[in-house]
């Protein structure tokens, strides 16, 4: 278990190196393997990827999360664009508070990033399990209802992926 982060870092680094070079030549491959093996030594014993689950169920959750995320991205972009082009800017902003069930730091990071990337909602701060969200069209300021509207669609997939 101690080497999990190192192995993941090794594969990610090698993938990025090969993508940047765009070739599978012998010199490129040897240089890349040497450099990524040396850098992955620094990850031994670190807990960066500790919470990532590497099971088939997590893979399905990852794909479901990406699909949900892309649909939300397009939908909310159309919504915000329509607000920009109308002659009178019609917005109803507020900073609301929501709760998350996710325990791991990586999971909370992914949740905050997916909330931020869908326009209309913007994570302004995280304190433990409370997220403060600036919402361009706040229909409610109640904690439970805002949680249901903003967080749940991403949370149920991230929960499987990161726990």
């Amino acid at each position: 278990m101690k080497f999990k982060a190192a192995v993941i870092a090794l594969f990610l680094g090698l993938l990025i190196w090969l993508g940047l070079n765009g070739s599978l030549g012998r010199e490129v491959l040897i240089t890349g393997i040497i450099v990524t093996v040396i850098t992955s030594f620094f990850y031994i014993g670190s807990g960066v990827f500790r919470d990532v689950h590497l099971t088939p169920r997590a893979l399905i959750a990852l794909i479901a999360w990406i699909i949900v995320f892309l649909i939300e991205l397009v939908k909310s972009n159309i919504d915000v664009m329509s607000r920009v082009v109308t002659p009178k800017v019609r917005i109803n902003p507020a900073i609301v508070q929501v709760k998350t069930k996710l325990r791991s730091r990586l999971g909370r990071l992914a949740l905050a990033n997916s909330i931020t990337l869908t326009p209309g909602t913007l994570t302004a701060d995280i304190v433990d399990d409370t997220l403060f969200i600036h919402w361009i069209d706040a229909s409610t300021v109640d904690i439970d209802e805002a949680t249901r509207k903003i967080v749940e669609k991403f949370e149920k997939h991230l929960e499987v992926l990161f726990g």
């Binding site: 090969l18 920009v84 902003p93 931020t116 302004a124 403060f132």
Partner: protein, 105 residues
């Protein structure tokens, strides 16, 4: 193939135009972040996908660039929003509620 790619690039540039318009029109910092820095992410996705259609040989590099932008963009807008709230930037008078202010007290 070429036509599909260039149409995608054109859609992306139109999204850029609308989000730049949002940066001009919105009344306070938070709403400018909403329309500005995040709508451009979708625009970048469209433009880079279009370039990938036009020139399939560049796909690995374009994928790395796209993942990099998708990962870093929310982080920078989150940091700017937190700095704005920390500095008590004026919020638009339309704002109905600020839970963060109540939590600080």
């Amino acid at each position: 193939m070429e036509i599909v790619g260039s149409i995608l690039v054109l859609i992306g540039s139109l999204i850029f135009f609308l989000s730049a318009l949002g940066v001009i029109r919105m009344p306070d910092v938070y709403n400018r972040i909403q329309t500005g820095t995040k709508a451009t992410t979708l625009g970048t996705i469209f433009v880079l996908t279009g370039i990938a259609f036009l020139s399939p040989g560049w796909i690995p590099k374009l994928v790395i660039l796209l993942i990099f932008i998708i990962l870093t963009n929310p982080v920078s807008s989150h940091v700017v929003a937190r700095a704005a709230h920390f500095n008590k930037e004026p919020m638009s008078p339309l704002t109905t509620c600020d839970k963060m202010d109540e939590a600080e007290e």
